[in-house]
Amino acid sequence: MANHSTSHPTHVHHHFVDSDQQFDTAKLGMWVFLVNEILFFGGLFCAYIIYRAWYPELFQMAALELNTFWGAVNTVVLIGSSLTVAMAIRSAQKDQMKGLKINLLITIGLALVFMVIKGFEYAHKFELGIFPGEYYTYEGIDHPQAAIFFSIYYMLTGVHAVHVLIGIGLIYWIYLRAKKGEFSSEYYTPVEITGLYWHLVDLIWIFLFPLLYLIE
């Protein structure tokens, strides 16, 4: 009952005509998923915008507790990881398997650096008593809604951090598959679409950074 020719490369699934169709469809599918991610974070950004419009002085006071320098470092780290993942895709496109693996590992490394810096940031806040929601005990900001700013901060950066962790997992899985020799210039679709996801994580942070850290 098979009605496709036997000259199909093994990576092409049976319901696709050829490699190109499969690649384009995978990319389309991932872009649709990214639309969903944008709306997901969009809800949080919406809450941010509403509260900033209601309590602008709170946001100015509370933002002083955020360390602009380390936030900027994290921005550079994530942009760097976007660069290395783009280089990884380029390596795959040029059949440079060693380059692919190295770039994937560097990307993971940079992502871990991001998480470590974030970890220190959170730890420093916890020391001061800046916890989310009803556990907030910091006295240093003279505004009754101070806890709300930090709740929004923790939600935005926390959900973003979860996406970073998921990204690390995905890129590591791609690395393992690259080690097994699954990819080539003929087939690197999973690398491409994982790269797209990772770039989105970077994109979200590009907006998070000025909105949270650069309020003066």
Partner: protein, 105 residues
Amino acid sequence: MSTHNHEHHISTAGQLWAVGTTLFILTIITVVVAKFVAIPPPFDVVTAISIALIKAFLVAAFFMNLYWDVKFNAMLLIMAVIFFLLMISITLLDTMYRNDVVPSF
């Protein structure tokens, strides 16, 4: 039959580094402007977001390859942004025009 035959665009390493470097520079600019240039609100936010939009455009166009991709994928991204803007603008129609900011009991 293959459905089409467009070549997958391969950026050179130089091109990718150029985009990356531009992004690093823009990051430095946005921090410097925020910290050392006094801009009255709301234009400080406008400036910061504008720089962020330029960075986002660079990432989307040259890292995510939308510049060389089928136009439909770029349209998806634009559509997502449009719906996000609709969500916040119509909600703000409520929250900015209330008599009491928060319903007090």
